[in-house]
């Protein structure tokens, strides 16, 4: 124990989890207190300043897929600690604690859905699970999503978020960048549209693969989007970064994405874009029939 140890016995930090779910929450965008129920109803967007709060995958699916239309694929593909990776905790322990925390098996949920009636292949990444890092499971599920999209002639939409490759799987995780990109080459060759939606944060290995390879690229307001982490860049160049660096306006200004789309407009915008690219729905694909 150090002389000036920080962890004094008897003093415990109050954990967030121990606090009761309040009716109000503070918006980090405008520092105002907002009514939680109102924020939930507004797709977790601050009704005062438009700040986009994190959203879990269930909420994302509910927001994008027509009610009852989502059919999940590859639900039972799960990660294993094949390297026996031990950091401050083992990978196995990390996987279990993240499963416990989120109630999900890994960082991405994929399946078939309808978007205003149109059948699509939809993937949603969830930053709450190990920073939505891409290991073999994320790589495999995204690849299968794209391959199924190609086989069934479906547009592919992926709501992206990620801290990058999953370090705990070593080089196997890096190779998922190539694997997913290869699948996208074939999907594109089939003349099908692919639209990634970049949410907070989308970086590193995912950014340098499928998140960037869209026919069109959309981003949510306020999302951090980039390749290298700001800390790494700062350490490398020994300078402060310009304000708004790696934020959507910066990316739009430098020509790196097509549009910044607020959450509330996203479903309609995607539907309009797909209508334009694929042609309007034909009567053979009636919107009322679930998948």
């Amino acid at each position: 124990m150090t002389l000036f140890g920080k962890n004094k016995p008897g003093l415990k930090k109050a954990r967030k989890r121990d606090m009761p779910d309040g009716l109000w929450l503070k918006c980090p965008g405008c520092n105002e207190m907002i009514f939680r129920e109102e924020q939930e109803k507004a797709l977790r967007v601050c009704p005062l300043c438009g700040h986009h709060f994190p959203m879990n995958r269930t909420e994302r699916l509910a927001m994008l897929a027509d009610p009852g239309s989502f059919v999940e694929w590859d639900k039972d593909v799960y990660s294993i600690d094949f390297l026996g990776f031990v950091g401050e905790a083992s990978y196995q322990e990390k996987l279990e604690s993240n499963r416990r925390k989120t109630g999900e098996v890994d960082a991405v949920t994929c399946g078939r859905a309808r978007l205003h009636g149109r059948a699509i292949a939809l993937g949603v990444m969830d930053f709450a699970f190990l920073g939505a890092s891409m290991g073999a499971v994320v790589g495999e599920k995204i690849t299968r999503l794209i391959e199924r999209g190609t086989a069934d002639r479906l547009p592919v939409i992926v709501v992206c978020a990620s801290g990058g490759a999953r370090m705990y799987e070593g080089m196997m995780s890096l190779m998922q960048m190539a694997k997913t990109s290869g699948a996208l080459a074939r999907h594109a060759d089939a003349g099908l549209p692919y639209i990634p939606v970049l949410t907070h944060p989308t970086t590193a290995g995912v950014m340098a693969s499928f998140a960037t390879l869209g026919d069109l690229i959309l981003a949510e307001p306020g999302a951090l989007i980039g390749f290298a982490g700001a800390r790494v860049i700062k350490e490398t160049i020994q300078q402060d970064l310009p304000p708004g660096f790696q934020r959507p306006d910066f990316l739009l200004q430098h020509g790196l994405l097509d549009q910044i789309v607020p959450r509330g407009d996203l479903k309609q915008r995607l539907a309009d874009l797909l209508d334009f690219l694929c042609g309007p729905l034909t009567p053979s694909e009636p919107p009322s029939v679930p998948v």
């Binding site: 415990k12 590859d74 039972d76 593909v77 799960y78 990660s79 294993i80 094949f82 390297l83 990776f85 950091g87 401050e88 279990e96 499963r99 416990r100 290991g135 073999a136 499971v137 790589g139 495999e140 690849t143 490759a165 370090m167 799987e169 070593g170 080089m171 196997m172 890096l174 190779m175 960048m177 190539a178 694997k179 990109s181 290869g182 699948a183 080459a185 074939r186 060759d189 290995g205 340098a208 693969s209 499928f210 998140a211 960037t212 390879l213 980039g226 390749f227 290298a228 982490g229 790494v232 860049i233 490398t236 160049i237 970064l241 310009p242 660096f245 790696q246 430098h254 020509g255 790196l256």
Partner: protein, 335 residues
């Protein structure tokens, strides 16, 4: 350039100093000490062999980063005939951290593309310490497409700490440059052979690494993140890079076992830099062997083989997901 000794090579330095001393002594006194020198040299060889037979992953990373290790241009000089260097991405500039051009290897036409490090401050500034800008990847893709158009096989030599992390890279969208290379390399109907000759630094290496065959030198490494970066994340301490290097399974034998590389090119004991002509011959022969094998594939087979190779990469399980073990009960809530 004075001898550069890696920290774990100290036992070698002691013997080398003795040899020097004896030589100097014999020159000054006019005495014959060749017998003793030969004995010491044998001892040096043996000690080096023993040292290199049991290098830790972190020590291999140090060898891979050795400042005298042969770089891309050294290999080109050693075994590429009539090298015709080609420049520029046609968009912004010519990134010197990626070298590319046409050449012949023992009578075979090859498009050679490789990341290039420098040996001193001046050359390192010129090639940005081997860390490519987006322009480098775009130049590489331009040359690869050129090769595909004229049915020329592509050889990439990988030796980079990673793509340059900086403001310019983000502004000019390095992520896009790498991602597009990953996708487009799957579309090139000519054989692609990648050789990791030194450092395989993450996405910056993979950006020219989507190949039909991937070879790696014995003491080279290929990793998703630098051991220092990994240690900074796991233990908030870059000094624990040795532990991170163990955990990442980044050495050539580890990668071969995982099925991520196809073959290992042996290095002389002491590393590639101790015998550059020998390692150049080894690398050339390994390249020729693979090029001749790949030449037997049709363009369609080349594409299919490359896709299947990467498609198969991934270790996971499928079936009923095992139930979670009950969470550990926090101490303060125990009765």
């Amino acid at each position: 350039m004075a001898a550069y000794i890696l920290p774990f090579e100290k036992p070698l330095l002691a013997i080398q100093n003795k040899i020097e001393e004896l030589r100097r002594f014999s020159a000054e006194q006019g005495l014959t000490t060749s017998h003793d020198v030969a004995q010491l040299e044998a001892q040096l060889d043996e000690t080096r062999r023993d040292l290199y037979a049991q290098l830790t992953p972190w020590q291999k990373v140090m060898v891979a980063r050795h400042p005298r290790r042969p770089y891309t241009r050294d290999y080109i000089t050693a075994f590429v005939d009539d090298f015709n260097e080609l420049h520029g991405d046609r968009l912004l500039s010519d990134d010197h951290s990626i070298v590319g051009g046409l050449g012949w290897i023992k009578g075979r036409r090859v498009m050679i593309i490789g990341t290039q490090k420098g040996r001193d401050t001046k050359s390192n500034l010129d090639c940005n310490f081997g860390c490519p800008f987006p322009e480098g990847y775009r130049k590489a893709l331009r040359l690869m497409r050129l090769a595909a158009k004229f049915s020329i096989p592509i050889l990439t030599l990988i030796d980079t700490p990673g793509a340059f992390p900086g403001i310019e890279g983000e502004q000019r969208h390095v992520a896009e440059a790498i991602a597009v290379n990953l996708r487009e390399m799957f579309r090139l109907p000519v054989p692609i052979l990648a050789v990791v000759i030194g450092e395989g630094g993450s996405g910056g290496a993979l950006g020219i690494g989507v190949a039909n065959r991937i070879l790696i030198l014995e003491y080279a490494y290929y990793s998703v993140i630098s051991p220092e970066g990994c240690a900074a994340i796991l233990w908030k301490n870059r000094a624990r890079a040795d532990k991170a290097a163990d955990a990442l399974k980044l050495t050539a034998p580890d990668l071969l076992e995982l099925g991520l590389v196809d073959a290992i090119i042996p290095e002389p004991p002491g590393g590639a830099h101790t015998d550059p002509p020998a390692i150049a011959a080894q690398v050339r022969d390994a390249i020729l062997k693979q090029l001749d094998l790949l030449a037997k594939l049709s363009p369609a087979q080349v594409l299919e083989q490359r896709y299947s190779k990467f498609r198969a990469m991934g270790v996971f399980k499928e079936g009923s997901v095992p139930a979670l073990t009950p969470p550990p009960i926090p101490e303060d809530t125990r009765p």
